[in-house]
Amino acid sequence: MAFRRSDPAATADAELVASLRAGDETAFVALAGRHQASMLRLASTFVPSTAIAEEVVQDTWVAVLRGIDGFDGRASFKTWLLAILVNRAKSTGISEARSTATGDAGPAVDRSRFDPGGAWASPPRHWIEESEDRLLARGLRTRLESALRRLPSRQRAVVILRDVDGLTSEEVCRVLELSAVNQRVLLHRARGHLRAAVEEFVEA
């Protein structure tokens, strides 16, 4: 099976896939464990409740096993898996009401922070040298998680896949069936909201 060189996560997935094909139940459960959080987060952007998201995840594993012999390793296992998940989630037919093409229309930075000439009226204060460990320890994690939950569903799906799960932009486009331009617009808005959440937390 061809998997991307020098990607330890993809290599570990490929090994687990080989074991599960050979009948190893623990390999299957380990594989499910590795992807559980990503799958639940992504499923939650399509359906209205955690319970339904969990059903979608379970359905996805049934579909994965059914299709595993057709998985040729050209895409990474994760990309293949998440594309199946998106399909399963959409086929529940109870997708969250979608807003327009790219979700909310708000700018990434509040306009009041610029003067009429477009210069920064209220420039960003310097906070990034506060250690990231300290920021996370002080409850920023909770704040970020809740900012993530409040994002419009498509922005949430894109930023979860890119920045939490570390997929490439090409993989995100494949999983969510988005154009490259749309992917970037959604990512831009989502990251803008998250940056604002971090800023609010640091400056509170």
Partner: protein
């Protein structure tokens, strides 16, 4: 900014943005904050499989294996 971070800004616009960044500490700060936010988001921890989920998945797997 996102197009810049994603490496998808055309060369001319990239040069213009970089020239602006060299002169504008605020936009430089903003860009650094975007990078920090991306790093922070990337460190949100996954949750573990619940025991119930583990059991359900084991059953899904055994049914598949037995039907093969």
């Amino acid at each position: 900014m996102t197009d810049y971070l994603e490496g998808s800004l055309p060369r001319g616009e990239r040069r213009r943005l970089e020239a602006h960044l060299a002169d504008c500490p605020h936009c430089t700060e903003y860009l650094a904050q975007m990078r920090a936010t991306i790093r922070l988001t990337g460190r949100l921890e996954p949750d573990d499989l619940s025991a119930e989920m583990r059991e359900d998945l084991g059953e899904v797997y055994r049914r598949w294996r037995d039907a093969r």
